[in-house]
Symmetry: C3
Subunit: 256 residues, 3 copies
């Protein structure tokens, strides 16, 4: 760090299992990736190439390599997994992640209807080769999944071999964990936390207010995902109580 500030919350260091930041890249160019890792590498634990954007990425292998050389593993968004599965091309999907040397896979059913035992089967198969992240929650705002179901699914997916489960939100910060307004479904989050260990969950929280909410609830070292590339340092300041939103949260009482 550039100077000493006393009494800051202690952040975990890479490789992190808590205090984890997952960033979403939705189409950065090679040089933008170089810029990004130059400024942010130590604060980023993994990068998701958002949904199926990797299909269209110029110089994809090179891009993945730049991230990797900066100590940041890359994986494909769950929608890509779904796009292969819905086309009966699951084996092709496995070949693609193998071809690009990807060591993580996301299993999700945000856009397709997938019986839950079938989803767990995909987790089991993929977990033999790679680290699996599985995502719970629909991208369809009309599909409200009750809390007990979130818990049931998260637990069985962890049992099937998921390293962590992801609580769904869109890139824009709606659906899944959030209401249309972007507001957190607090009761849902709190109920999940009564049953699933906090360190096994990554909360997708693209909006600042959502990040602030989770940091206030779970502390500096909460696992957060779908962070925009230019919000990584702002998020890090939120975690450390160095932005107005959480400034008071990590301080005791101070007066003059």
């Amino acid at each position: 760090m550039n100077y000493l500030l006393k009494n800051l919350p202690v952040r975990t260091q890479k490789p992190r299992t808590t205090g984890f930041t997952m960033v979403m890249d939705k189409g950065l160019s090679i040089r933008e990736v170089e810029n990004f890792v130059d400024a942010n590498a130590e604060y980023v634990d993994i990068v998701k190439l958002g949904w199926a954007t990797s299909y269209l990425t110029n110089r994809l292998a090179e891009k993945i390599e730049i991230y990797r050389d900066a100590g940041i593993p890359v994986y494909f968004g769950g929608t890509l997994f779904e796009a292969f599965v819905i086309r009966d091309q699951f084996e092709d999907y496995r070949k693609v992640i193998d071809k690009y040397g990807i060591r993580f896979a996301e299993v999700s059913d945000g856009s397709i209807s997938l019986p839950h035992d079938k989803k767990c089967e995909f987790i089991r198969i993929l977990a033999k080769d790679v680290t699996v992240l599985s995502e719970v929650g629909s991208k369809d705002a009309a599909k409200i999944i009750p809390p007990y179901k979130w818990i049931e699914q998260m637990q069985s997916e962890l049992d099937a071999g998921s390293w962590k489960v992801i609580g769904e939100a869109r890139e824009g910060g709606t659906v899944g964990l959030f209401r249309d307004s972007g507001e957190v479904r607090q009761g849902l989050v709190e109920e999940i936390l009564t049953k699933i260990p906090e360190d096994r969950i990554i909360w997708e929280a693209p909006q600042k207010e959502q990040q602030v909410w989770f940091v206030k609830l779970l502390g500096a070292n909460v696992n957060l995902g779908n962070i925009a590339p230019n919000e990584v340092i702002p998020l890090e300041t939120i975690r450390l109580g160095l932005r107005g939103d959480t400034f008071d949260h990590f301080l005791g009482d101070h007066s003059f």
Copy 2:
């Protein structure tokens, strides 16, 4: 493309007259343009230097050349045309586009009051030298133009020599085709389409929900404009049914 996915909608290829993507650059630096074309060139048909931002652009000729070398023509936003016209400097405008080797011109009246026959006269004059895009719709939210008038104007502008007509929206996605909330004026769009051939229209649609709406209505190869540079690849996935929003749209019935 980086891997094979079956049953994707077929996209048109450059040079496109349908499935056209017009991007708005509101002040990218030279190196940002290089980054942009590296990642996006094949998905971009034309770049508009937004409104009169070109007045302030450092190394403008160089910037235009980088786009051109990547196979992307550049033109000046309609507000610049209007800024010259309102000052009685139309001849100067013609010299400027000539000086920079611009091969397209936008004729609009979003910020000025221009009798429609005068507007068509400008189209006729410019069409002798360059390809004309003309824009219908006001930037003034209070000026509601009824659908029959949109159609009348679009038709007479095409007759006067416009290559395509543009349905107006602001950079932020309001006015013209959209309500203050950003919601599409559906009846307007549908009525326009009863009279004006789809391939002659470019719909300005900067917001994701607007892009999704047009792709669902008119398919993968709808002409869209005012796309932000970092939304080109996301838009391309929307066109291909590779993002949650249109994932189902291009698939038949699938079940497990």
Copy 3:
């Protein structure tokens, strides 16, 4: 400028004391700073490293130097000052700004409770070494400061040695000068202007509608702050009446 347009408002030139644009950098990488200054340097008067983001900036000294070489001084956001003060590390703060060769300091109390005479005391101390900008207004939406208090504080801070006072808004454009919706608290602004000279105030106005409002009220050469890096050229066009929003404002009556 790239071409001649008649009858544009006359902009002040660097070094400016009015018509001042303060940009907020919330974590740009080195190369992004290079890109930024290449396209924008002549329109930017000062850069604020937002709140305490500088704590986490890679190659901070190098970054500051690139700005400086482009003729743009840099300073640390007020939240950083507050983070040092609340920890009883004010002397450390002075050493940090000295170490990085910073020639400006922001004194604020947006996140801490600081008796106003104590705040003025900090201004007096810092003003001996550097140019002080002091900020009035809370980041806490619940703390509404009445207009007479804004004026009183601004005046006593100027008396204590502030070069200019800053009217607070968040990066997102809420609190302080603005309502939760981002709307300007017009009565507040107008009352302030009855007492404090316009050229001594910088209005934080990150949202386009806010910038438009201030340009319409105070003209092309109003002092504005918290401008996002990619909004500098758009703002400059707003100042010059070269964007739809202020197109009419600087023109007399024109008709055909």
